[in-house]
């Protein structure tokens, strides 16, 4: 998954969060005393903030963080919920939604959003009534001052900018960007970075060393970056720093004025002039088209689109925005009036905004092209489709029987052959359909794991810890709903591991561990469940501290806490509102983490287990149902009934002679490849009153399965080969049935019970 897909996912999720927050805010306003609603609201905001942290959207994160702080106080009861508070939160939420829209359209947040974001954050913090918070909300001031001091003496590289550009308006910033030689190998594109600089006014590209010539050229490595770029930008320093944030050590900034003597206005580029001329001509053509009268709505819409694209060239970016703002129902006359009004205004104003044009044009294009992308379909519709396909498969499998009947009962060989031919066609289509719907629903768990690399790296850096992330089994597939529900809990667990689990390098060395901690995420499928294990080799959980904190926070009475074993005590961290952190950081410590994890996992019928050894690390296991997956099973027969056994558990199928089975009291064993394998009769286990059948040679069929790491042989009557089935978990009255993983509908309409050997044997 690349960055763009990740961003798309972020936008979708952020929208969902905002939607939830919006409805919750209103519900809480109606019923401010409801702690459950408040908790829910807080959780949504917390998740949104966590997602923002994945990307460098400072403006967004700042507002959400402020909102979260505010809600935290409300939740704790130290701040009463008021309508003023709700107003501020809803305002901030609308602003956040706008930012998310912008992120979707442009993939980043405009520098201009910064100031507004600070305003919103300050408004929220004002409600908190904290003086120091206001100070924290305006960190931009000192950096600008520092830059101003640096600008006292313009550095030599400024000379490389064209003289005309150097007498740029007050407040322009010059940037000297020297990409490091091996930057291409880091996936950087310095040219793109330079071209997309906000408010770019002028640019000069030079070299760090002279270009090679003659003989040296053959040996020249074009993948060693030798560029040296000087830029002039009208954007403010903060925005530029944000733009070059990935390469801070390779850029130098300098503020103006750069050249006091230059006087003449900048001569504009002849190429750009030509573009502008052409654009003006096109503009005039469009107006002529409009003024012809009797234009149909389609023409008006087309003209409007064209004007939208031309506006940045002919007029300026603001005009393009104004055009966007016109009501979509605007008729030809209104559009014409607007366009003519713009031209009059243009004649009066000097045309100096051209530099922002290409960017604005690009933005306009993306907005115009943005249409339907993702089709959101309700889960139940897909489920219905899946059920229908299941029925279709069963119905289709009835055709071979029909062909057989045609041939044997009605003596119609010709017809039988035709039916069979038809059957193969229908079969192919049905299989494709089934596959397609499966594809809709199944996702590899790697889809969620993908974003963890960045998360772990960023957080561990922020905390000054060294952490390695190991991921195994990312190809394990699970139902889409399961995978999606998994993302948030996993992020919370990782954050907890990073913040509380892994120690600082010094402490790790002191404890005799390698300085770099390891977090392992392992995913695998085990019969009808997906197991995901997140383990770290950090400090583990201090059971005593958990007890103390739980009592302190009033989550459990002191006497009950004292009576808990260490293993039980660590489970207390799943209680809502539990947190051991002494102070609130932006990582964790708000007491939502593990509570959210458990709620989220249990919602999809999963379970969470936690094991921790003080000083050795913590392992969290998440077991999730596969609600629907193609499972490869082996079909066996015992006492005249057929059963399925999940293929991944089967080690081998063998036939063992009666004489090779050793019986000791109730226990039967045999020796396979030099190992003693315990044998159990399937009939016995299922309470079927029949002895295992022997074949003509006096051999019995043994299905060797793996339980944990131990092989166990199951005595059965017959093997019937493998089959791909759709495993449906047992539901309703059957839900309590142990020993079975689920059922599957077979082609001939019969129901196959699929065994869960692990439950059966332990």
């Amino acid at each position: 998954m690349n960055q763009a897909e990740l961003l798309d996912q972020f936008v979708t999720e952020a929208r969902e969060c905002l939607e939830a927050i919006g409805t919750r805010l209103l519900e809480v306003e109606r019923d401010p005393a409801n702690a459950g609603l408040l908790n829910d609201l807080f959780r949504s905001v917390h998740t949104l903030k966590g997602n923002c942290g994945l990307f460098e959207f400072k403006a967004l994160e700042r507002v959400v963080h402020a909102g979260e702080d505010l809600l935290d106080r409300v939740r704790n009861g130290t701040l009463p919920y008021s309508s003023a508070l709700a107003d501020a939160l809803l305002d901030a939420m609308d602003y956040t939604a706008r930012l998310v829209d912008q992120i979707e359209a442009e993939g980043r947040i405009d520098a201009s959003a910064e100031a507004q974001s600070q305003q919103h954050a300050a408004a929220l913090r004002a409600l908190l009534g904290e003086a120091q918070a206001a100070a924290a909300a305006a960190p931009a001031a000192p950096t600008v001052a520092a830059a101003a001091a640096a600008a006292a003496e313009p550095p030599a590289w400024i000379e490389r900018l064209p003289a005309a550009a150097r007498q740029a308006p007050e407040g322009a910033v010059a940037v000297h960007y020297r990409p490091e030689p091996d930057c291409f190998f880091k996936g950087e594109d310095p040219w793109r970075l330079a071209c997309t600089t906000p408010g770019l006014l002028a640019m000069d590209v030079g070299t760090q060393e002279a270009w090679p010539a003659g003989e040296a050229l053959a040996a020249w490595d074009c993948y060693r970056c030798n560029l040296d770029i000087v830029l002039l930008s009208s954007a403010d320093l903060g925005a530029l720093q944000a733009h070059f944030r990935c390469v801070p050590e390779q850029v130098a900034f300098a503020g103006g004025p750069f050249d006091a003597t230059a006087a003449a206005p900048a001569a504009s580029d002849p190429g750009e002039d030509r573009v502008r001329e052409r654009a003006a001509a096109l503009w005039a053509e469009q107006l002529a088209l409009l003024s012809r009268g009797g234009a149909n709505p389609g023409t008006v819409a087309a003209v409007r689109r064209v004007l939208g694209h031309l506006a940045p060239w002919v007029l300026d970016a603001a005009a393009a925005a104004a055009l966007e703002a016109l009501p979509p129902s605007a008729g030809a006359a209104e559009l014409l009036a607007w366009a003519q009004g713009q031209l009059v205004a243009l004649a009066a104003a000097p045309a100096d905004m051209a530099d922002t044009a290409p960017e604005a044009a690009r933005a306009a294009e993306t907005t115009a092209a943005g249409g339907a992308r993702v089709l959101k379909v309700g889960q139940e519709k897909i489920d219905r489709l899946m059920d229908l396909i299941g029925e279709m498969v069963v119905a289709k499998n009835g055709l071979p029987y029909l062909a057989q009947r045609a041939e044997q009962v009605f003596q119609q060989r010709e017809l039988a052959r035709e039916i069979k031919a038809q059957y193969t066609v229908i079969n192919r289509i049905a299989e494709d359909m089934q596959h397609a719907i499966m594809q809709v629903r199944m996702l590899p768990v790697g889809a969620v794991f993908q974003r963890f690399g960045r998360l772990v790296r960023d957080i561990s850096r922020k905390l000054g810890k060294e952490v390695q992330l190991q991921i195994e089994g990312e190809e394990t597939e699970a139902d889409k709903s399961v995978i999606e529900a998994l993302a948030d809990p996993l992020i919370h667990i990782l954050r907890n591991s990073l913040d509380h689990g892994i120690e600082t390098p010094e402490r790790r060395r002191a404890a005799g561990k390698p300085a770099a901690g390891t977090i392992r995420i392992v995913a695998r499928q085990e019969s009808d469940r997906v197991l995901i294990e997140i383990s770290d080799d950090g400090a583990g959980i201090d059971a005593q501290r958990v007890r103390d904190k739980a009592v302190e926070r009033g989550l459990i009475p002191a006497d009950r806490a004292a009576g808990l074993s260490d293993a039980d005590a660590v489970q207390l961290i799943f209680l809502p509102g539990f947190s051991t952190a002494e102070r609130i950081s932006d990582l964790s410590g708000r007491g939502v983490g593990m509570d959210v994890v458990r709620t989220a996992v249990e919602r999809i019928n999963g379970t969470v287990t936690l094991a921790s050894q003080a000083g050795r690390g913590t392992t969290i296991g998440i077991s999730l149902p596969l609600s629907m997956a193609v499972t490869n099973v082996m079909i066996i027969e015992s006492a005249g009934r057929r059963f399925g056994v999940p293929m991944d558990l089967i080690v081998e199928t063998v036939r063992v002679h009666r004489d090779d089975i050793h019986q000791f009291k109730q226990a039967r064993t045999t020796v396979l490849r030099g190992r003693i394998v315990p044998l159990r009769g399937l009939n016995e286990l299922l309470a079927l009153d029949a002895e295992p059948l022997l074949n003509a040679e006096g051999e019995t069929a043994v299905l060797v399965v793996r339980i944990g790491s131990q092989p166990v042989g199951l005595l059965v009557d017959q093997f019937h080969g493998a089959s791909d089935i759709i495993l449906k978990p047992l539901e309703g009255v059957l839900a309590g049935l142990t020993g079975f993983a689920g059922t599957a509908l077979m082609g001939d309409g019969s129901v196959l019970m699929v065994l869960n050997p692990k439950e059966l044997l332990t």
């Binding site: 990409p179 291409f184 950087e188 594109d189 310095p190 040219w191 793109r192 330079a194 071209c195 770019l200 640019m203 000069d204 590209v205 070299t207 270009w211 090679p212 050229l217 053959a218 020249w220 074009c222 993948y223 970056c225 030798n226 560029l227 580029d269 190429g271 750009e272 573009v275 290409p358």
Partner: protein, 73 residues
């Protein structure tokens, strides 16, 4: 979309990625009178840009991107 190597010039089209830099560099060095067509080029990677800057082929048709055009002039 990347580079089409024609008889008399190389046509850089669409988004020219970093992988194309080396091939372009070699192609340009083999040509007696190297020339490039940038009319349909939307963006080129910095590595490709520096190949163009180092080898200075004749620009048959300048790119539409004003910044790129300015740098290559």
């Amino acid at each position: 979309m990347s580079i089409r190597y024609l008889k008399k010039h190389a046509a850089l089209e669409g988004n020219v990625s970093v992988e194309d830099a080396e091939t372009l560099s070699q192609w340009l060095q083999q040509q007696a009178a190297p020339a490039v067509h940038l009319g349909k080029c939307e963006h080129l990677h910095a590595a490709v840009l520096q190949v163009l800057l180092a080898l200075r082929p004749r620009v048959k048709v300048p790119p539409s991107d004003p910044w790129l055009a300015q740098v290559l002039r």
